[in-house]
Structures are given as C-alpha cells and as structure tokens.
C-alpha cells in the first residue's frame, strides 16, 4: 500500500523527466509529438490505475485511520519527514486529481492546445499532477508547503505558453498572488512548527496540548489562512482567478478549477481546523462572512456577465461561479461542525467534477466557434446549440443544472450540508450570525440558478432556421465522449448516492474536530 502511494506521488515526476528525453526505439510512434502525448496518457493512466487500486485497497471500515503511511526522515535539520498517508478526507481528492489529470491528458492527445512543443506541455502537466497529489498525500507541514509551491511554475508556464489572449498578464497575476499568499502561509506554518516543536500534521492534530497558546494560534491561523484563502480563492483575494481561467488553455482551466483550488480548502480542513482550533474559532465568523460575500459577489458577477450586451466571456463566467461555489465550501468549513465540514468536502469534489466538465465543454465550444464570448455566440436570439449540436448542448445544459445544485446531482448535497451546518454552528460560535449567513447563502443559490438558466437559454436555445448560412457545428467527438463521460457519470452517482462519499469523509472529520479522539 505505501509503495502504491509513494508511486502515485513520485511516478508523475519520473514521467516528467522521461517526457523530456527522446523516446526509446519501439515507442517512437508516428511523430515525436504524438509519442510524447501518448507518454502523457500512459503515465497519467498508470497513476489513475494506482489511485483506483489504492482506493479499493483502502480499509473502508476505518476511514479515519491514516493508511498507506510512509514515514522517513528527510531533512533532520528542519525536522522535515517524508510522511505520507491517506484517510477518508484525502482519498477522494487524490482519486479526483488522478482522474482529472488523466482525462486532461487524454483530451490533449486528440486536441493539443495551440502553442510550443507538446514535450514541455506533457512534462509540465505531470509535474503539476505530482505537486497536487503530493499536497493531498503529505502529512508534514513543510512538505505540504513544498508541494503547494510545486504547482506554481508548471501552471505559470501552462497559462503563459499555451493560453489565449492576455495570457502573460494572467499568468503573472496567478503566480505572484499565489506566491505572496503561500510565503505568508510559510510564516504561519513555521510559527506552528517552532512553537509546537514538530511539523508532523498527525502529531499536531492528535496532541491535545501542543503548546500553542491562543495568541499564537490566532496569528498562525491568520497567516496560514491568507495563503490558503488566496488559493481557494476567497473573496476579496480572488481577483487572479477570473483572469487565469479566461487565459488558460482548456486543460489548464480544468486542472485549475478541478484540482488546484481544492488545495486551499483541503489545507483549511487538514491543517487549521485540527491544529489551531482556538485560532480558527476566532476567525470563523469572519471567514463565514467573507464566504457569503463571495457567494453573492460571484453570482452577481455572473449575472452581469450573462446579460445580453455585456460581452461576457463564458470561461470568465464559470470562473466567477467558482468563486461562489468555493464560498459554500468555506462557509461549511467555518461552521466547525461535522455537518458543515462534510458538506464542504462534498462540495469540493462536486465542484471539481462539475466545473471540470463545464470548462471542457466551453473549451470545446470555443474550438468550434472560435469564441467563448457570450454575445458573439448568442447574437440577438441565442446560439441554438440544441439545434446545431444537440449532444453538446445537452451536456452543457446538464453541467449548468448540476452546477446550480439540482437535487439528484452532485452539486446539491455539498451546498445543502454547508447550509445545514450554518443553521447549527459549533457551540462557541454565534448562532444568529450564522443564521444570517445561511439566509444570505441560500439567496445566493437562487442567483446561481438564475444566471445558469440564462446561460442555458442563450447558448443552447434559439432559432435554428437562420443557421443555414452558417456552417453546422460538429457534435461531440468520440474522444470528447471518452473524456467527459466519467465526469457525467460520477456527477450523477454522487448525486444519487452521496453516502458513498460521506461515509468516507464523516468518520475522519469527526475525529479531526474532536482533536484526534474518535
């Protein structure tokens, strides 16, 4: 088991190095480009298989226990240990990452984004995968920081080299924002580690008296929280996200939304909740307030973008909707209750699946029509995707209703649980305040429904008669089906059978919130 986990973390790195080397004889394929793209599919496929095997081998009766652990000393000077392990909280995220990266590699194999050579592209995707997987698998604060930083350079180059318009500024904004956040986070992590005498997350979470005074916890939560909030992103630290999403290539957007944002919320659950509960308690109401502002702000921004004549970009719109969705996740975390945190983790996964799908769809739409600008697409009367490319239109409508939280699909449960959590927050938190937040957030779901339906109306519906002069759009290709079907299926599955996921997260969350006692 532990070798499997180590392979999952290190495998992509080895794959990245191999991608830069010339292909060995026998694997040269039709052309060097094709060979290296196939190499990417193979490596991510192997990692996905390993992740699935790991999930199957996971002891589902004890999801709160750290499993497949490795614990080797690496840098004694800094007390850094290569401590890997997974529990019910990290396992779903690990599998989601492996799945989304594999789908992205598969998609790029058939539809390589315009830009320089695919060699570097594949290598960067693999480094990115390694960084994200490591973030979810490590149990050492400094290693977490290392993994957190590891994704910056690959993502920067993915946006700056293979992106669309204004990619350079967007890439800079992304990396400078995130780095500023993560350096501040490092200060917080160091404060925790130096005061408590260990950087081990498990030891810190289970030690009920780690020697962290309330004031230290408050400073640590502030510093670490800022770093994580930039990544999540939390309003008002979100402004890098719309630009990065708009400029990034399709697979970049998918990975950014589907995986990278989760690193922020995961950090909240894994580090701040169990290690600095007192500090978290101080900031919980503020976090919740920022979260609901984010929900409303994201929805209003989307409404403004969806308006006819606003020249709203669909990718930008989905990016803003992410700000809203991540607001729900943060609201769930800030309640500090098992219900809320479970909801947050569920919403995390759901957002990864649904928004990943939406970015794929919008990317495909952009490839076909040459634009993701809503006004250009819809003109006066609507883009009539149902008529021109019925399957694509149907999938887009599916993604939109899943995103607005239709019961029976994945988007519903996470947000509902987060609202439930806010209805009855942890004992020490002000209930009236959280009731207000709940009411505002609930209003946010209405706004979300409004803009998503407007988008569906403008993109999918419309008269097809005038389409004779314009070329017909190609409907969904085989490889697109292959890349999207798993996301659709899992969205439905998670919506109909939420217990599969909640059964994993709940015991682990209960244990984290109880300070290591199950």
């Amino acid at each position: 088991m532990q070798f499997l986990l180590a392979l999952i973390v290190v495998g992509p790195l080895i794959g990245a190095v191999a991608a830069l080397l010339p292909a060995p004889p026998g694997l040269k394929g039709k052309s060097p480009d094709q060979a290296v793209l196939r190499h990417g599919v193979t490596v991510t496929g192997v990692i996905l298989a390993a992740a699935v095997v790991l999930a199957l081998g996971f002891d589902h009766d004890h999801p709160s226990k750290m499993q497949a652990t490795t614990d080797i000393s690496w840098i004694p000077a800094l007390d850094v240990r290569i401590h890997l392990g997974i529990d019910g909280i990290s396992l779903p995220l690990l599998v989601l990452t492996a799945l989304l990266t594999f789908l992205c590699a598969l998609y790029s194999y058939f539809k390589m984004p315009a830009g320089p050579s695919p060699k570097a592209f594949v290598a960067l995707i693999l480094v990115l995968e390694s960084g994200t997987l490591a973030t979810f698998a490590v149990l050492d604060l400094l290693l977490f920081f290392l993994a957190f930083e590891m994704v910056l350079i690959p993502m920067y180059f993915l946006i700056a080299r293979w992106g669309g318009e204004q990619r350079t500024q967007a890439a800079w904004k992304f990396i400078l924002y995130t780095l500023l956040g993560s350096v501040v986070m490092l200060l917080g992590l160091l404060l925790i580690g130096l005061r408590a005498g260990t950087f081990d997350m498990v030891a810190l979470a289970t030690d009920n008296d780690p020697g962290l005074s309330t004031s230290v916890q408050v400073i640590a939560v502030l510093a670490v929280g800022i770093g994580l909030a930039v990544k999540t992103p939390m309003w008002p630290l979100h402004s890098w996200l719309p630009d990065a999403h708009t400029a990034a290539p399709t697979v970049g957007s998918v990975l950014l939304a589907g995986v990278l944002l989760k690193m922020g919320t995961y950090g909240f659950v894994r580090i701040l909740l169990p290690i600095a509960p007192d500090g978290m308690e101080t900031f919980a109401p503020y976090l919740a307030a920022f979260a609901v502002v984010g929900i409303i702000y994201g929805s209003l921004a989307c409404l403004a973008l969806a308006r006819p004549g606003a020249k709203g970009d669909l990718k930008r719109l989905i990016a803003y909707s992410s700000v809203g969705h991540m607001g729900f996740v943060l609201l769930g975390i800030s309640t500090m209750t098992p219900t809320g945190v479970n909801g947050a983790l569920f919403a995390n996964i759901a957002h990864g699946l649904i928004t990943g799908l939406l970015f794929f769809l919008v990317g495909a739409l952009k490839d076909r029509t040459g634009s993701s600008d809503l006004d250009t697409l819809a003109k006066e009367s609507g883009a009539a995707l149902y008529g021109k490319a019925p399957r694509l239109g149907g999938l887009l409508a599916f993604g939109a209703v899943a995103s607005l939280g239709l019961p029976g699909l994945a988007g519903f449960w996470g947000e509902m649980l987060a609202l439930f959590g806010a209805f009855k927050p942890a004992d020490d938190l002000s209930r009236p305040a959280f009731l207000t937040f709940m009411a505002i957030a609930a209003f946010g779901t209405l706004l979300t429904a409004a803009y998503m339906l407007i988008v569906v109306r403008r993109v999918c519906m419309g008269p097809t008669a005038e389409a004779e002069g314009t070329p017909r759009l190609a409907d969904v290709h085989g490889y697109e089906f292959a890349a999207w079907t798993p996301l659709v299926a899992l969205t439905v599955l998670a919506g109909l059978w939420p217990a599969a996921l909640l059964g994993l997260t709940d015991p682990a969350v209960q244990q984290l919130l109880a300070g290591g006692k199950s």
Binding site: P76, M150, Y156, R161
Partner: protein, 529 residues
C-alpha cells in the same frame, strides 16, 4: 599582499612571544594554517613563474593555480577530524593562554571550504576568459591575474580562522586589495578602471571606519582577541560605555561593505559590469563570504554583550538591503547593455539581505544554542547561494562568449541553442528564487525564515516574504525568456572544457543538495562550532 598576511601572522606570533617569558620561540601548528598558506605560496610561485614563461606557455599558470587551490582544499581534510577539539595556534602564552589569533573549528573549515571551492570555480571560469581575451585588444595579463586571484583567496581563507581584530582586519584587506586590482585589470578598458576606482574608494573609506571602530574597542577594553573581548565588554567602565558602543557599530561598517549591505551597495553593479565576468562571480560569492564571516565573528564571538545594539541594526540593514537590491533588480531593463550581469549584481545585493537575517536573529537569541543555530542558517544559505550563483555566472560567461553585450534579452531562446545550459540556468535561477524544482533554494529560505520567526522578528520575516515575491518576478521573467522561441537561426558553439566542468560541477551540486538538503542544512541544526 601575501607578504602582509605572513607579516601579521608573524606579528601575532611575535607579540605572543614577547609576552611569554618562558619560551621565546612559539610552535606553529603548520597543518592548521596550511590551507591559506598554500594558496598564498602558490600565488607567489605563479608570479615568479610568470617571468620565466614564454607567451605560448602562459596557460600553464592557470593549471598551476588550479592545482594549488585543489591542494589547499585537500589540506582541509586532515583538519576535519571531528573527535578533536578546535585547533588553535598563535596563542598568547602565560596566564592569557586561552586567547589565540588563529583557530580552526567547524565554522572555519566550512567557510574555508566555501572560499577555496569558490576560488576554484572562479579559476575554471577564468581559464576560458583569459584564453578568449588573449587575442583581443582587451588582453588580461595572466601572471598578475592568477597572482591577484590567489592572494585574494588566501586572505579570504585566512579570515574565518582569525580570532583577533588585527588579524581580522588584515585578512579583510588581503582579500580586498587584490580584488581592486582584479577589477581594473583589463588593459585599455575605461569602464574597468572606473569600476576599480569606485570600488577602491568606497572600500577604503569603509575600512578606515572599521579601523576607527577597532581602535575605540581596543581603547575601551585593552584587548584585541575576540574571546577576551566577549568577556571584557560585559564589564566596561561606565564612562567608556559610549566609546565601546560606538566602536562596536563602527567596526561592523567594513564588513557590511563587503557584504554589500545598504548603504554600502552602490559600488556593486558598476563594479560587476566593469570587472571581467569571473571576477564578478568571485566578488559575488567569496567577497560576500568574507563580509558575513567577519560579521558573524565580530558580532557573535566578540560583541555578544552589545547584542541590543547590533541586533536591531543588522535587522534594519537586512530589511533595507534586500528591498533595495530586489527593487533595483526589478527595474533592470532586459535590453540594456550588460543587463544580465547587472541583474545578477542587484540580485546578489538582495541575497545579501537574506544572509544578514539570521545574524540579526542571533542578536535576539537568549541561549547559546539559538545563536549557533542562527549563524548556522547563514552559513547554510551561503553554501547554497555560492553553488547556484557561481553556476548562474558560469552560464552567463558561456552566453557572454557569443553575445558580448550580455543583455538579458540575449538569453531569449537559449533552450533552442543549447538545451542543457538553458535548463541548468533555469534551475539555478529558480534556486535563487526559492521555488521548486530549486528545492535547496526553497529550504535554505525556509531556514532563514525559521531563524527570524524563532527570534520573534516577525516584521523582518514579513519584509523578506514580500521580497521573495519581488525577486521571483525578475528571476522567473528571465527563466521564461530562456524557453521562448529564438530570434533568428540558432548557432551552435563549442563549449570550452573548463567552462563545461564549472557548469557541470555547480549543477551537480545544486541537484544533489536538492535531493539531500541535509548536507548543508545540518549547519543550521546544530550550529557551526
């Protein structure tokens, strides 16, 4: 200058001998003093050999120098015996027998390794530069070049072992004076002589101030030996307290100059641009090592009693230095002539700021072990910085062979021309920025941060955090440029062997350290004794 060094060693021995009535002849631990002595002797040998060599055979001088430096490095080995205590020589005899002028302990050895290793890599870079300059109008006189380089290295290697203020200042001068000449060595180059003059004038001023400070301290305490100063400064007469306090601050000035701390940093960019590139690399690594070694010795060993003076002073200096360096590096235009060297120069000022942080933190530590840990963090950072910065300069020297102006924009598309050197340079730059895949850079920064947080210097840590982000901007901009599509057809050039070796050695060091950061970070753990 080497003569000056030996005179002082002799002088220290002499003063010891005078005070001792028992024995007139002091025994010298020759093994302990071997590394700096070998470098100095080889330097003289090169100068003499130069007279008897025909122009055709001048390149032999480089090989002699390389061999000398390697021998000096090998002579560090017998000293590394960890069981024995520190070896001291040139000690006072009689009742004050504990005070010695020359001590070899772990700290000394690590810094000597850094200095000799840095000089060795500089020598490798110089061999190519000298060869390239041989048939141009900007010829470099080889005999003098090697002599000056070795003399300066001898001074730099002597400095970490010095344990009294006089030897310290003389070692500082032995390291600096040849450096002025090296900067101005290029015949018929206006920029070169101007840079040397600028460097010389500002350095001499700083040294004069240091000497004034030393005399104040001596007046207040009556001793020059660092360990004795540490004890005596604690109970200085109330009337002399102001004198001692002023002396402490003034003494730091000369060393702060060598580190290129604000406000003594203006000489750096012009000097680096004017000097031959290997000399700039040498100044950025060995010159800085000289400065912060002196600072550590003076502050931590001699003036611990005045930590309330130099602690905040160094903290402020660190914050100003890193900000000034990084902001100036940020403002460099990629298309300006020599902008690559200028950028490296300013970034080295920024890095000097990080080097100062743990020393400042040592001023706030309560326990001896915390002090050792803090200074160890500086040493660890310096080792990382030495390897990757020399590497970056080596690649810059490589590019400079074909692009004489060495602008940052000349690095555009380096990956297409020579993929390996582009990848290696990218790695070095990311190490300097402190981002993966430059893992050693990241963890070296973490140690520095951790020293600051541990000492309660939260504000300094936050300033440094902001600086890391600023620095990332220009490092990454340069890195990104390497992988852009090249303008025009790429031309392949043969890379000379010494340059290849230098780049390879630094790259291997950087990668090895990234895999096992413990190798250098261990000094931040137990400190350097």
């Amino acid at each position: 200058m080497t003569v000056a060094a030996s005179t002082v060693e002799a002088g220290a021995a002499h003063s010891g001998a005078v005070e001792s009535s028992a024995s007139l002849i002091q025994s010298v631990d020759w093994v302990a003093v071997a590394p700096p002595t070998i470098v100095a002797v080889v330097g003289l040998a090169v100068l003499v050999t130069d007279l008897f060599l025909s122009d055709r055979n001048k390149h032999l001088l480089g090989w002699i120098s390389l061999a000398g430096l390697t021998a000096a490095g090998l002579f560090l080995l017998p000293l590394t015996d960890s069981d024995s205590d520190a070896r001291s020589t040139f000690c006072l005899s009689g009742p004050r027998a504990t005070a010695c002028s020359y001590t070899v302990d772990e700290f000394t050895l690590v810094i000597q390794l850094l200095v000799i290793g840095g000089a060795l890599l500089t020598a490798l870079l110089s061999m190519t530069s000298l060869k390239d300059a041989r048939n141009t109008d900007k010829e470099l006189p080889e005999g003098e070049f090697w002599f000056l380089l070795l003399s300066s290295a001898a001074g730099a290697a002597l400095l970490p072992a010095s344990r009294d203020l006089a030897t310290l200042v003389v070692a500082l001068e032995v390291a600096s004076l040849p450096a002025f000449a090296l900067v101005g060595l290029r015949r018929g180059d206006k920029r070169s002589s101007e840079a040397a003059l600028k460097f010389f004038l500002s350095s001499v001023t700083a040294t004069a101030v240091t000497l004034l400070g030393v005399s104040f301290v001596y007046a207040a305490t009556g001793t020059m030996h660092l360990t004795e100063l540490g004890e005596k400064l604690g109970n200085v007469d109330g009337q002399l307290d102001t004198l001692a306090r002023t002396g402490v601050v003034l003494t730091l000035v000369g060393f702060a100059f060598k580190v290129a701390a604000v406000p003594f940093h203006f000489w750096v960019p012009d000097t680096y641009v004017g000097a031959p590139l290997p000399v700039a690399a040498y100044l950025s690594v060995v010159g800085k090592a000289v400065g912060f070694t002196g600072l550590i010795l003076v502050t931590v060993v001699a003036f611990p009693e005045y930590a309330d003076v130099w602690g905040p002073a160094l903290a402020a200096l660190a914050a100003l230095t890193m900000t000034a360096g990084n902001v100036a590096a940020l403002r460099q235009q990629a298309t300006r002539a020599y902008s690559a060297v200028r950028l490296l120069a300013w970034s080295s000022v920024g890095q000097a700021g990080y080097l100062l942080v743990p020393i400042a933190a040592a001023g706030y530590a309560d326990q001896r072990s915390d002090v050792l840990e803090a200074t160890g963090a500086t040493v660890a950072y310096a080792l990382m910085y030495a390897a990757v910065n020399l590497g970056a300069f080596a690649v810059a020297a490589l590019v400079g062979r074909t692009q004489a102006l060495n602008r940052v924009s000349d690095y555009r598309g380096l990956y297409a021309r020579s993929p390996l050197s582009a990848l290696v340079l990218a790695f070095f730059l990311l190490c300097l920025a402190g981002l993966p895949p430059g893992i050693i850079g990241l963890f070296a920064k973490v140690t520095v941060f951790s020293a600051a947080v541990d000492a309660g210097l939260g504000w300094l840590a936050v300033v440094m955090a902001a600086n890391v982000v600023i620095a990332l901007y220009y490092y990454l901009q340069w890195t990104a440029l390497l992988f852009r599509a090249p303008q025009g057809e790429p031309v392949k050039h043969r890379v000379p062997a010494p340059l290849t070796v230098a780049i390879a050695v630094t790259a291997v060091l950087g990668v090895a350290l990234s895999g096992a950061p413990q190798l250098v970070l261990q000094f931040a753990e137990q400190g350097v004794r």
